[in-house]
C-alpha cells in the first residue's frame, strides 16, 4: 500500500515538474516578454511597456486577427457539415463494421500532419494529381489553380481537423437512445422534425465539443496556410511565427500569443458554462 502511494506521488511529481518546466515556465517567459520593449540587437530590453498590446489593435494587425477568426469559423462550419453526417452514419452502422470505419478516422494520425499537408500539395498543385486527372478526362482545357487559393487552405484545415469533429459527435450520437427517435415519429414528427427537435438538441454537447476542438487549433495551425495558401493567407499562427522568425520582434510576437491564448481561454470558459447549463437541464 505504502509502496503504491510512493509510486503515485512520484508519478504526479514528475509530471507536475515536467509541465511546470516545459509548459508553465515558457508561457510565463512569453507573458513577461510581451510587456518588454523591443531591442533590435538582443530581441528585448528590460523596459516595461504595453505598446505591443496597443499595436495589436492597429487596423493592419487587427485585420490578421479578424481574418484568421473568420477562417477558423469557416473551417469549423465546414468540418461540422462534413463531420455530422459521418458521425451519424458511424453511430448507426452495424456493430461489426464500426471499428473499421473508426479506424479510417484515426489512421491519418499515424502520419505527421506536416507530411500529410505536403501530400495535399502534391494532389493540388498545377501539375498535380487532381489537375492531371481533370486534363486526362478532358474536363478542363488548362490546369485549374487550386493550390495557393483559399480553397486549398480550407481543404487543408478541414482535412487535418475533421477527426476532432467526428469523434466527439460520434461519442454523443452513439449514446442517443433510438427509442426517443421512435417516440418522436410516433407523435407525428417527420424525419426532418425528428432531427431538428430531438437529435440536434441532444447532440449539442458533441457539436460544441467538436467545434471547440476544431476552432482552437485552426487558429494556430500556421504551416497549413503557409504550404497551401502561399503568402497571401496570413493567419494568427503565421503572424506570430513571422514575428519570431522573420521580423525578430519577440515582444510583439509574445503579445500576439498572449492575446490568442486569452481568446482561446475565454472560448473554453464559454463552452464550459454552456455545457454546465446543458448538463443541469439534461442530466440532473
Amino acid at each position: 500500500m505504502n509502496e503504491n502511494k510512493g509510486f503515485k506521488n512520484t508519478a504526479i511529481t514528475v509530471n507536475m515538474l515536467w509541465i511546470c518546466l516545459f509548459v508553465l515556465v515558457p508561457n510565463l517567459i512569453v507573458v513577461v516578454i510581451s510587456f518588454l520593449e523591443r531591442d533590435p540587437a538582443g530581441f528585448f530590453r528590460w523596459e516595461p511597456t504595453i505598446s505591443h498590446y496597443i499595436d495589436l489593435f492597429d487596423p493592419v494587425n487587427a485585420r490578421v486577427f479578424t481574418h484568421s477568426l473568420s477562417y477558423s469559423f469557416g473551417t469549423t462550419l465546414l468540418t461540422l457539415a462534413v463531420g455530422y453526417p459521418f458521425g451519424w452514419f458511424l453511430s448507426r452502422v452495424g456493430r461489426r463494421r464500426r471499428p473499421l470505419l473508426l479506424m479510417l478516422v484515426i489512421v491519418p494520425f499515424w502520419t505527421s500532419s506536416l507530411i500529410r499537408t505536403y501530400a495535399l500539395v502534391i494532389l493540388m498543385k498545377a501539375n498535380g494529381v487532381i489537375n492531371s486527372l481533370l486534363l486526362t478526362l478532358g474536363l478542363v482545357k488548362g490546369p485549374v489553380s487550386i493550390l495557393y487559393t483559399d480553397v486549398a487552405v480550407y481543404v487543408g484545415l478541414v482535412y487535418s481537423l475533421l477527426p476532432f469533429m467526428i469523434l466527439p459527435l460520434y461519442a454523443v450520437l452513439e449514446k442517443l437512445d433510438t427509442r426517443l427517435l421512435e417516440a418522436a415519429r410516433d407523435l407525428g414528427a417527420t424525419r426532418v422534425q425528428v432531427f431538428m427537435k430531438v437529435v440536434l438538441p441532444l447532440s449539442l454537447p458533441g457539436v460544441m465539443a467538436g467545434s471547440i476542438m476544431v476552432f482552437l487549433p485552426s487558429l494556430g495551425l500556421f504551416y497549413i496556410p503557409d504550404l497551401l495558401g502561399g503568402a497571401k493567407s496570413m493567419l494568427v499562427g503565421n503572424f506570430i511565427k513571422n514575428q519570431f522568425l522573420t521580423s525578430g520582434n519577440w515582444p510583439f510576437g509574445s503579445a500576439a500569443s498572449v492575446f490568442l491564448i486569452l481568446v482561446m481561454v475565454s472560448m473554453m470558459a464559454i463552452y464550459l458554462l454552456v455545457m454546465k447549463r446543458f448538463n443541469r437541464s439534461v442530466m440532473s
Partner: protein, 360 residues
Amino acid sequence: MPVVSLQNVSKTFENHVVIDKLSLDVFKGEFLTLLGPSGCGKTTVLRIIAGLETCDQGGIHIDGKDHTHVPACDRDVNTVFQSYALFPHMTVFDNIAFGLKLKKTKPGEIKQRVEETLALVKLSGLGHRRIQQLSGGQQQRVAIARAIVNQPLILLLDEPLSALDYKLRKEMRLELRQLHRKLGITFVFVTHDQEEALTLSDRVVVMNNGAIEQIGPPKEIYEEPLNRFVAEFVGESNLFDAEVIKTWGETMDIRVQGVLKTVKNRRGFQAGQRVKVLLRPEDMTVESGKQACLPGSFPGRVEEMIYKGTTVELIIRLEDGKQVVVLEFFNEDAEDISYDMGEGVCVSWIDGWEVVLPHE
C-alpha cells in the same frame, strides 16, 4: 367495422420468423391485450400497428383505410413505450405538448389541453418539472399523458407497467381502466403478465411463436383455454393424461389416473381418443385421507404447504408420482387449514369444472 385490422401479417428478422401470417381485428373502444411469453412477437405486432415496423407480407387497415405503407408520423395512433422514451431535454409540459405543437395547434389550446391531460393523469402543477426530477411512476404518467393528449384513435401500450413496483403497478392498473372508460379510446396493451391481462382487458389475445393461440374475454381464456399452451401460460394448472372410454351426447366417460370419471364432452371427442384434463388449483378439493378415498378421487400425500395469506397452496404427490397443486381458501367452513407433511389425503375436483383438451 374493426378500427384496426391486420391481415396475414408476416415479419422476419434475420431469418427468424417473428410473426407468422397473423390476422387480428381490434374493435372500436375495446381494451385489447396481447399476452404471451417474451419473444412471442407481441411487441412486434404493436410496432406494426404503430408503423414503427413494416410488415414483410400482409397488410394493415386502420379505420377502414389501408395503412400498410403509411409512416408512423401519419397514423392516428400513439404509443406509450416500455421505457417511456420521454425527451430528456424538455420539461413535462413540452413533452406532452410535443405532438400538439407538430400539428400546429394554437398555443392557447395547447396550454389548455396539456393542463387538462396533466389533471387526468394526476400530475397537475408539475408541468414545469424536468423529466429527471420525476419518479418512475410519474414518468409513466407523463408517457401516458404525452400519448393521450393527441386524442388518437388507438392508444398502444407496450408493457407500460413492467418497470413499476408491485403496489404502484396495481394502482396504475386501476387508473388505466378508469382512463380507458373516460376517454373511450381503443387501447391495445402488450404484457407478459397474465394477471395484468386478465384484470384489464375486454379481450385477451394469447400469442406464442408469432401466432395467435386464442382470442377471447379474460374469463373464457382462463376457464376455457383452447389448448395446453394457453392453459399453462394463463394461470396455474394441473394436467392429467386421460383416455375417452365412451361418449354419449354432450357427455363422456374418461379414465384418468386409473379412475373412471364422467365429464362434459364439448369438443366432440371420440371413444378411444387420448385427451388431457386441465384443472386449476382452486378447482381441486382435498379431503383428509384418514378413511379410504371415495371412488373418483385420487389418494396422495402432502409434500408442501405454502401459506399465502388468504389461501394455502398444497403440493400433493399422487401415488403414481404425479405432482398436483391445490389451492384452499380460508372461509367459514375452513377457518384453519392444516396438514402435516406426508399426511395422506384424497384429491378430487368439483364436477364440471374440468376442461378437457386434445392430447398434444
